[in-house]
């Protein structure tokens, strides 16, 4: 009924957060193979990523160890080129424990101490010896992966339970998107993360910690794929108001809006779809036809107008820009996003050999995208899938490829009306209200959080766990995180196949 646990590569953001926790202000963005938590739990590491890891760890260690004040602050003693140098051993034991999120074995400590001392001799520098050992620790699989293998559960021998120390890592990356702190790691070393009461106490502490805010926001960043906004490009001829700063600002706005709903607006996930509380800087204010006077580059809280065209995260520029082409909107992409990501529903691919050619209007007779795509809704083999997607997107056609409001297209009025699974809506805001009450929404939210937490897509045998989570969470986002962290699916796993094979 459960699935095996195992190795989970740190995602790009987890790697950055872990480096920051180890070295303070050191910033290393964009390093790693996978951004998605699910992909990192299943995917491999290619040579190009191995090269990135090596470059990043050397660049970082060089900077830290070239600075006398920084290296002394990090190491806390002065290494010497003597046999069994106590400073080398002490530093590597302590730093290694933080890097591996567990105590080093005697063999590991010996390995890294030897590496430091041999390197110190080769390079004629004790400090550089430690620098080389640090570069190696940061490339070890014990650092780059979360090692969550479990031990046989004495109560249910056919499953494994994560050890307390493994639970510390699993909890920290789930709830904080970063490594465990000293409190959590020492609680784990006291074996307190397998018992319900002490586990729940830690989970609550973590969710109340500022890192808990960042952690839940990181989940939404993963689910909504918002890091794509950092590299988003639009056609400058057709979307001239798109600037290199707009994508990152839209990403930040979306995440701040989510954070506001989760932590400052009652934490009901349904409110994500009709909230009017958001954040804008001067550029975003112009995008949303709000008054930019007095605004700078920094995001500032704002309440969207009660009679305005938009409310909720769906109609913010971030999702509208992501689910569009470089210069045109795509009702299909936008509808597919709602089906796949918000409602956890799947749409099959287009059948092979179908000519997707649409009627070409004469330049003098330009039409709306909805009219152009009407064949999707009339031809049965198109409609069987597009009927599920395009109407949702039509409601959002009043937002251009970066989410700017446009009342007309090609001089024609835009028809935004439609229905979602039998409930009619008139426009984007009404769509948000229908979506917030959609019966699949809450189930899908817990489902995707569970996938994020455990690193796999649930199987049939886990449905009972999910129902319990959904039931116990109500509409609360934070509660859903807490219930998942306490659930059987998070703390136990099936034994992996093939252990010990050659």
């Amino acid at each position: 009924m459960l699935q095996p646990a195992g190795l989970r590569l740190l995602t790009v953001s987890q790697y950055a957060n872990t480096i920051r926790a180890l070295f303070g202000d050191a910033a290393l963005g964009g390093v790693g193979q996978w951004r998605s938590s699910l992909a990192a739990a299943q995917g491999g590491v290619a040579l190009t990523a191995v090269e990135e890891y090596e470059n990043a760890s050397r660049a970082l260690a060089t900077v830290v160890f070239a600075d006398d004040a920084r290296r002394r602050a990090l190491v806390g003693c002065t290494p010497a080129l003597v046999a069994a140098d106590p400073c080398t051993t002490t530093f590597l034991r302590e730093f290694g424990r933080r890097a591996f999120r567990r105590a080093l074995s005697a063999e590991e400590l010996e390995r890294y101490s030897s590496l430091a001392q041999e390197s110190a001799r080769s390079l004629a520098s004790e400090w550089r010896g430690l620098e080389i050992a640090v570069t190696a620790l940061l490339q070890s699989p014990n650092f780059l992966y979360r090692v969550e293998l479990g031990e046989t559960d004495p109560d249910v021998p056919e499953r494994v339970r994560l050890t307390s120390v493994e639970m510390a890592t699993r909890l920290a990356y789930f709830l904080w998107n970063g490594p465990p702190d000293e409190l959590l790691l020492s609680a784990a070393e006291r074996d307190e993360l397998q018992k319900d009461d002490t586990l729940r106490a830690q989970v609550r502490r973590m969710l109340e910690d500022p890192r808990g805010r960042a952690g839940i926001v990181a989940y939404f960043a993963d689910m909504l794929n918002v890091d794509s906004l950092l590299v988003l490009q639009k056609d400058p001829t057709w979307v001239p108001s798109f600037t290199p700063t707009l994508g990152p600002a839209l990403r930040e706005q979306l995440l701040r809006t989510v954070e506001n709903v989760v932590f400052d607006g009652g934490g009901d996930f349904r409110n994500l779809f009709d909230t009017r509380q958001t954040f804008v800087n001067a550029e975003l204010a112009r995008l949303y036809d709000l008054d930019p006077s007095g605004l700078s580059d920094a995001l500032t809280p704002v309440t969207l107008p009660a009679e305005g065209p938009r409310a909720g995260i769906l109609s913010l520029g971030a999702l509208m820009a992501l689910q569009s082409g470089p210069s045109d909107t795509s009702p299909t992409l936008r509808g597919k996003f709602v089906r796949n990501i918000l409602l956890c529903q799947q749409i099959p691919p287009p059948p092979p050999g179908v000519a997707a050619r649409l009627p070409e209007p004469a330049p003098s007779e330009l039409v709306t995208t909805r009219t152009l795509m009407s064949r999707h809704q009339t031809e049965p083999r198109c409609k069987s899938c597009h009927g599920f997607m395009d109407p949702i997107g039509f409601a959002l056609e009043t937002f251009d490829p970066i989410g700017k409001y446009r009342p007309t297209q090609n001089g024609l009025a835009i028809d935004t009306s439609g229905e979602l699974d039998g409930v009619a809506f008139a426009d984007a805001r009404a769509l948000g209200r229908v979506l917030r009450e959609h019966p699949a929404l809450g189930d899908c939210f817990s489902r995707s959080t569970y996938r994020y937490a455990t690193g796999h897509v649930e199987r049939r045998g886990e449905e009972a766990i999910l129902s319990q989570v959904v039931q116990a969470s109500g509409h609360s986002i934070a509660r859903s995180f807490e219930e998942i962290a306490l659930s059987v699916g998070f703390r136990f796993a099936a034994p992996a196949e093939g252990i010990g094979a050659p």
Partner: protein, 464 residues
């Protein structure tokens, strides 16, 4: 059944582990330090090379095949762009790429022609079966199989570059095979090589350590880097014993790459022979045409210097979700600019689309010219290269797979016909052409591909 073969990676694993495992920090690897040796010294055989050039969204099958077969073919409308190098180009027309129609056609086509199989879905992604992000290839792509066979002691096992960004949108910055063929340049499912995306980046990678640097004995900085990786490998060796089969394979693939990097760090710079010379740092141009030219020039020099023997160069991703401003400021349809992909779906094959499809082949022609421009022992680099040029489907508007566009360029050391011939193979499995390419470089394979794409029959008319 996949024939057993001992990969270069496996060999590398054996040799490096035995030399390094116990030797942290000791004088390292006499064999490694000489590993580059004198492969290109006068009189020794020259290496063979392999490349893949890929463009997205096919061609126009009605205007693809030349009228005549054999060596007397003249470029068709679609093939005008290779007229200048036609002696080096072989054409197999009329083949069909058999895909299953279970996933996105662009993903299926790319995986089929480059990896000879159907996209696979990781078992853990059962709920996401239609999402590009969770599809992968069933095995290594053709360039990586070639690298197993050809890379030998070269510093870079293969070069992976892309002229256009992987497209954003539904799949975001995903690394799925629908967005980058680099995904298919790997050793196993869910391991993909990120492409170098600018000429300056590729320059730094290939030529950051200038060619021609005289060996000055072992560099202690390099030795400690290699030692650090030795500690990483030792950690992995302990960890692997506690893992299940799936994770053990993931970790071993990861460590194969660590060993590969370690060997590169210890390798000496290759000797400068023939046309090999340190290139100048390029300035990244706005034009895609110029960008590909710079990529090709750098890769050709990498071949001449024997830094690498294999490349995978993506002009555009499967589906061509980009515009081509070299040709048109925008692709306008119904009053709005769109990507080439959307434009072709909406408009069908019109003059704008035909111009663009011809441009794809012209870019391929310019890549071939870069290789022809570098002399090597009385000939040029194309004489000892085998370069596959292809796309993921034959006809964009309907996602068609009949009359598949595929070209095989270079003499491959005399294994391929010269001057190049045009062969018709109506309805034949298109995977026979990549298999022919692998045979031409002497890869010891009895067959290639899986399932409905499996083939053991190279296109005999192309081989000498």
């Amino acid at each position: 059944m996949t024939p057993f073969r001992l990969s270069r990676r496996a060999l590398l694993r054996g040799t490096v582990r035995s030399s390094l495992g116990v030797a942290l920090g000791l004088p390292l690897l006499d064999a490694m330090l000489n590993s580059h040796g004198t492969a290109l010294a006068a009189g020794d055989p020259l290496p063979l090379r392999f490349g893949v050039f890929f463009w997205g969204n096919g061609s126009d099958p009605a205007r693809w095949a030349p009228a005549a077969t054999g060596a007397d073919w003249q470029p068709s409308e679609m093939l005008q762009g290779i007229a200048a190098v036609k002696d080096y180009v072989n054409i197999v027309s009329g083949t069909r790429l058999a895909v299953r129609g279970a996933h996105n056609p662009h993903v299926e086509g790319a995986v089929a022609i480059l990896a000879g199989g159907n996209p696979v879905l990781h078992p853990s992604f059962s709920g996401q079966s239609n999402d590009w992000d969770y599809l992968t290839v069933p095995g290594p792509s053709v360039d990586q199989i070639a690298a197993d066979h050809l890379a030998g002691p070269t510093r870079f096992r293969s070069i992976v570059a892309s002229a256009t960004p992987v497209h954003t949108g539904a799949a975001g910055t995903s690394s799925a095979p629908g967005t980058a063929i680099s995904y298919t340049s790997h050793s196993a499912p869910f391991v993909f090589n990120s492409p170098k995306t600018t000429p300056s980046e590729l320059f730094g990678y290939l030529f950051g350590t200038p060619v021609g640097t005289p060996p000055s004995g072992p560099d202690p900085e390099m030795l400690v880097r290699a030692d650090a990786l030795g500690a990483v490998l030792a950690d992995a060796n302990v960890l692997r014993r506690r893992l299940g089969t799936n994770d053990r394979q993931r970790l071993e693939q990861h460590m194969d790459s660590v060993r590969e990097l370690q060997a590169r760090i210890l390798a000496m710079p290759p000797p400068v022979v023939g046309a090999c010379a340190q290139p100048t740092m390029p300035t990244d141009p706005a034009s895609l045409r110029l960008k590909v030219k710079l990529f090709a020039d750098l890769i050709a020099m990498g071949f001449a210097c024997d830094l690498t023997r294999v490349f995978s160069l993506q002009f555009s991703s499967p589906a061509s979700h980009v515009a081509y401003p070299d040709l048109f400021p925008s692709y306008v349809y119904n009053g709005t600019a769109t990507s080439f992909h959307e434009y072709e779906h909406n408009a069908g094959i019109d003059e704008t689309v035909r111009t663009t499809l011809k441009y794809f082949v012209e870019i391929f022609g310019s890549v071939l010219e870069s290789f022809r421009a570098l002399p090597e022992r009385g000939g040029n680099l194309l004489d000892r290269s085998c370069i596959l040029g292809t796309s993921e489907l034959s006809f964009g508007p309907s996602h068609g797979f009949d009359d598949f566009p595929i070209l095989l360029a270079g003499k491959a050391g005399g294994a391929l016909k010269y001057p190049g011939v045009h062969v018709t193979a109506p309805g034949e499995n298109a995977a026979r052409v990549p298999f022919t390419a692998l045979k031409a470089i002497g890869a010891p394979l009895a067959s290639w591909g899986r399932d409905q794409l499996l083939t053991s029959a190279p296109v005999a008319e192309l081989l000498t």
